[in-house]
């Protein structure tokens, strides 16, 4: 986090980090774990629940509920079109 | 382009191959994709000049597999498509002919047959591909095949081939032979407005209607309406066995249903497709069954035999597939034997055998020279003597 010892960009107060809402389609997931592995902020983890085909789909990890920055990488990398994010616009 | 520029109205002295080309022009062929092969090359060469002159597409492909792939793709995009080949090319075309049958894509293939098998006799006549026309690709499917006996019939039956192909959504072959293809004879081409044209069946549903099932054949003829690329229907065409939506359905039940329909499309309506010519059959007690160039010699032999007092007639097959089985059955009640001259070692004779218990005597030659009237006449005389 920013402290008095750190150099700050001049416009740091104007720039805000986007926040994302995660959506999943559990029935499409095949448990490949691409989204979990490639999320830059490790937002996702496997749930202990299973979908009808027996795969553990991803859910937001505990403590990571505010971490998603809507980079959409999970959305574009998922082979099953089973997950996406939307930027939360305030 | 005006129809007048396509149709070479008038009386001409034309090579059989060229008559095939003019038939294609008159029928409104939009795309020719082929590969040069003796003795059909003249058809392609003529079309390479005639088609671009009316703004239509001529492409010489890299091989025959690409040719038929282009025929099917072009057909499903809405074009009337055609190719011309001979035995070795016909063999290469077979896999994609199966695709045309499976996707129910109309297309016309002219086969100017030559001596076979393999490279065979490239420049000399044969009738060696007749069974292959029906059974060449793997699986059960039906096609229509015509056998012209003159350049005039080359012209007429290429036009008919396009119409029947569009009507029934099957590949249609014009099984000429090198004798007819390389013969020059009078061909009369009518005015453009007298060229018959049958259009493809089109759907009643509008594009985007979710209830539209592109492969549901609701009509008695078992032919589904066709949709083309870019019309907004966004249909899947699959070489895999498919359901009525066009989606792959690789299970026994939908597969059996589809294949039966593809086959019954033609088998149950063969009477609307079959064509033959009867010469002196009314009082015959011996029937000659012949097609293509051989039928010309057979006609001479029959005439000669009649002069000798032998009651022989000729059934000249114009449409060879579907085979006129009912006519053979009917003749079996009247004649005592069949004589089947062919420039192969017995192909259509096998079809005759299937529908009669009478003797079927072949007059056979593996090709390379026309079947002269003499061997046919000799056989007629011998059979008549022993009958």
């Amino acid at each position: 986090m920013v402290t008095l010892q750190t150099r700050q960009p001049l416009d740091v107060k104007k720039i805000s980090i986007p926040r994302g809402q995660l959506y999943i389609i559990p029935e499409r997931c095949k448990g490949c774990k691409f989204c979990i592995d490639f999320c830059p902020l490790d937002v996702l983890e496997e749930t202990s629940e299973m979908n009808a085909k027996g795969y553990h789909y991803p859910v937001v990890a505990e403590g990571k509920e505010e971490a998603c920055i809507a980079c959409q990488f999970c959305s574009v990398i998922c082979p099953e079109f089973a997950i996406y994010t939307e930027e939360i616009v305030e | 382009m005006s129809p007048e520029e396509r149709v070479l109205t008038g009386s001409h002295f034309l090579l059989g191959d060229h008559a095939c080309a003019e038939g294609a022009m008159a029928a409104g062929c939009d795309l020719f994709a082929g590969y040069p092969i003796t003795p059909s090359t003249e058809t392609a060469e003529r079309l390479s000049a005639r088609l671009p002159a009316v703004g239509a597409i001529f492409v010489q492909m890299e091989d025959e597999m690409a040719s038929v792939a282009a025929l099917v793709g072009g057909s499903l995009a809405g074009a009337r498509t055609m190719s011309a080949t001979s035995g070795p090319g016909f063999s290469l075309m077979m896999e994609n002919i199966g695709m045309a049958a499976m996707m129910e894509a109309p297309c016309v293939i002219v086969n100017i047959q030559r001596g076979a098998p393999s490279t065979g006799l490239p420049t000399l006549v044969g009738q060696a591909d007749m069974m292959q026309a029906k059974w060449g690709s793997h699986g059960d499917y039906e096609i229509i095949a015509y056998s012209p006996s003159s350049p005039q019939e080359c012209f007429d039956y290429v036009i008919k081939a396009f119409n029947m192909s569009d009507r029934w959504r099957v590949p249609v072959f014009v099984m000429a032979d090198e004798l007819i293809g390389h013969m020059t004879e009078r061909v009369v081409i009518p005015p453009a407005d007298q060229i018959p044209r049958v259009e493809r069946k089109r759907p009643r549903h509008k594009p985007g209607d979710p209830s539209f099932l592109p492969f549901l054949a609701e009509d008695e003829d078992l032919v589904p309406p066709i949709v083309h690329a870019g019309e907004g229907y966004r249909v899947n065409y699959d070489s895999l066995t498919h359901d009525e939506k066009g989606y792959p359905a690789t299970f026994p039940e939908p597969h059996d249903k589809l294949v039966r329909r593809l086959v019954n499309k033609i088998r149950l309506h063969a009477d609307q497709i079959i064509e033959y010519e009867e010469i002196f059959l009314d009082d015959a007690d011996l029937a000659v069954i012949a097609y293509g160039s051989t039928a010309r010699s057979a006609r001479r032999a029959v005439n000669e035999a009649r002069r000798d007092g032998i009651r022989v007639g000729l059934l000249r097959l114009i449409c060879v597939w579907p085979f006129p089985e009912n006519k053979v059955r009917e003749l079996s009640n009247q004649v005592k034997a069949f004589v089947v001259p062919e420039l192969n070692l017995g192909q259509i004779s096998r079809e005759v055998e299937r529908f009669t218990s009478l003797p079927v005597i072949g007059v056979n030659h593996a090709g390379g020279v026309m079947m002269a009237p003499d061997p046919i006449l000799d056989t007629i005389r011998e059979v008549a003597k022993n009958a």
Binding site: L22, Y23, P79 | A33, A70, G73, G74, A229, G232, R234
Partner: protein, 278 residues
């Protein structure tokens, strides 16, 4: 906020959703590549009705069946001449061939080189997973030297094709290579290909955990994709003859990029008619 469970995805409008989920294995690279293609269709400015997707036979070839466009699942190796005819009869349509390495370059090799030579106006997207996946992982024309396959139990003895080099040599006007991991760059490349007139080619390296990964001691799809992550570099100006993929040489990177973007007159069977003043 925790996750919200839903039943549809923003990209669904480009798919025949009643057929999803697709048949591909967990972790198969065809999925992300298809997503990039679908996104490109949405962003192309060309309506769905004017897109056509053609394939041959194989796992990748199942993709057109899932897309909500005019789709054609044809015979093995023959998608390119089929697509050419659609492009000639309906020149206003955007025709894309979406097929695999074995289908396009094994049995289909001859059609590829002629189509590129002619510069026919189609896009070819080749998903390269280094094997014939649908039939169980046999070796193909892009299987790396030494790699194992079901028909190469001792290791492949044949050098593979260098696809960007081949495509460029044959005359393709746009040649790119990305992976199923580089989905954003892939989408941009597909968009560029759709804009260009002429023969465009995009190779997409994709993990195939069951067909390729398993016989080659690659644990799962994640491990195969990490291989790309570690060894890929981007160099749009790379020297094409040196772009072959060698799995064994850790010092040789996998080079990605948009390598060729040139202009050549697209194939026109009536080109000579204009010269005649007709």
């Amino acid at each position: 906020m925790p996750e919200i469970k839903v039943e549809s995805h923003p990209i669904d409008s480009v798919f025949r959703t009643e057929r999803l989920p697709h048949i591909f294995c967990p972790g198969c690279g065809i999925g992300p590549a298809t997503h990039a293609y679908a996104q490109a269709i949405l962003e192309s400015g060309i309506p769905k009705d004017q897109h056509a997707c053609v394939s041959g036979i194989g796992c990748t070839a199942r993709v057109p069946g899932y897309m909500d466009v005019d789709s054609y699942h044809t015979t093995h190796g023959r998608s390119i001449p089929f697509a050419m005819a659609i492009a000639l009869v309906k020149p206003e349509m955007e025709v894309t061939v979406f097929s695999g390495d074995g289908d396009l370059f094994g049995i289909g090799g001859n059609h590829f080189i002629h189509a590129a030579r002619r510069n026919i106006d189609i896009n070819v997207i080749c998903i390269n997973n280094f094997n014939y996946g649908m039939t169980g992982g046999q070796l193909g024309p892009t299987t790396p030297l030494g790699a194992k396959a079901s028909t190469a139990p001792y290791g492949n003895t044949e050098p593979p094709f260098n696809l960007p080099y081949l495509a460029s040599a044959c005359g393709a006007v746009f040649v790119a290579r990305w992976t199923a991991l580089h989905v954003r760059q892939l989408k941009e490349a597909i968009l560029r290909a759709m804009q260009k007139k002429g023969f465009t080619f995009i190779e997409v390296l994709a993990p195939c955990p069951v067909g390729f990964g398993s016989p080659n001691d690659i644990g799962d799809a994640i491990e195969e994709v990490w291989l790309y992550r570690e060894r890929c570099i981007v160099d749009h100006n790379a020297y094409l003859p040196e772009l072959e993929i060698d799995l064994r040489r850790k010092d040789i990177p996998f080079v990605m990029g948009n390598f060729v973007d040139i202009e050549r007159p697209p194939f026109d069977p009536l080109a000579m008619m204009k010269n005649r003043g007709e």
